[in-house]
Amino acid sequence: MSGGNDLERLAKLVLAGQDEAYGQIYERTVKDVYRTVYYLVGNRADTEDIVQDSYLQFHRSLRLYDPSRPLRPWLMGVVMRQVRSYRRGRWMQFRFSGRSERLHDRREEDFSGEVVDHLTNRALLEGVSRLSFKLQQVITLHYLSEYTQEEIAEILDIPVGTVKSRIHAGLSKLRKQYKTHEMNGKVGELHEI
């Protein structure tokens, strides 16, 4: 992944009062952050809000950052806490029943598009979105953002063993979903893709 020691150097500049360096940190990390949040949340409007809040929070807490540690996982830890607060907040809202369905439809449509039955990339990622959130999180961080298991442990503040077992459980469930697809003859042309 991009960044390397540069990000840590930029963080020091931000702490020294150079706001422009923060812009550079943003440029180098936002694509990765945005995609990760998008695949965990499933729609762009909420993704934009969460990403923005995350960078504000990250800026506020930067003075707590230890520049001898890699910056990307630290930033992603802030992001994951924002996603978690967002999800918990959503648990506490109610809506008019009709409206709730409409929003749900939109979310699904936005995320999976019209092709669901065919075994495409989208179907595979749709499978990920059906996993429990804890499994989704490690699968997304590992296979989309390509964080190592150790980094994910740091991001989520859980033991590496737990990360391993969650990745393993997530993959087994995804493989199982695929088998079902294959048996139902909905595989399409997996091996050609």
Binding site: D19, Y22, G23, Y26, E27, V30, K31, Y34, R35, Y38, Y39, N43, R44, A45, E48, D49, V51, Q52, Y55, L56, Q57, H59, R81, R84, S85, Y86, R88, G89, R90, W91, M92, Q93, F94, R95, F96, S97, R99, S100, L103, R106, D110, N121, R122, L124, L125, V128, I139, T140, Y143, L144, E146, L171, L174, R175, Y178, L190, H191
Partner: protein, 247 residues
Amino acid sequence: MKFEDRLRKAYREESAGVTPPPEMKDSLMDQIKGRGGRMKGRKWLMVTIIAAAVILPTGAYAGYTYLADSIYGSKQQLIEMGGTAEGYERLEAKLQESRDHFTEEEFDAFLAVLQQVGQFATLHADSQGNLNPENWSADIQEQYAAYLEQLEPFVTQLEASQNSDVPPDLDDRNAHWEAQLAKAEELLTAEDYERFTLLYDQIRVYQDMLTRNEPLTDEQFEDVKGLREATEPYLNKLGLSWSLGAS
């Protein structure tokens, strides 16, 4: 192909078009330098509105599914005019979000003004689709100012529900709650009403914590789940439901 590689490839290919809107950086930097409010407030709204209005087909359009179609004609049309499918989806999401903050009549009126601004923009935007009021004659600038004035009440109303440190969904919740409280008192027995408000008050304590950016502990979140369950029968009677299923 190994399953894990297949998964990586799916993410790589599908995420290629998932990119943050370019204007987000400016908004963020403004806030960090203490110059602006949250992007989802007025500034973001004006960006969206102007973006929505910049390219507008003047021709008639047939019935549409997407709200954004009423501004751009269709996704295809926007793409032909140099827009992106992604921009279109984003606008659609924002419009849908605004709809939740208006009555039906208000929203129709809001779209109508957007359409007018869009027609204006088609005539006066430069070849890149940007509006440059400083290059216009006084007449045109005046027209532009008049449109902005027409948009003002809608922006103010949206701002009231979006431009705060409270996530928009929580604001939404407050509005719903206030509106439904009277109805609850009417529809529920006095005993149910009391029990319902008691439960909901407990949930609000947690909501307020999140609003202040205080994370909930796992125990507190379990408590929320229990409260949700207990509240469900009352919500059903009021024609409300929790916005997420209990999964």
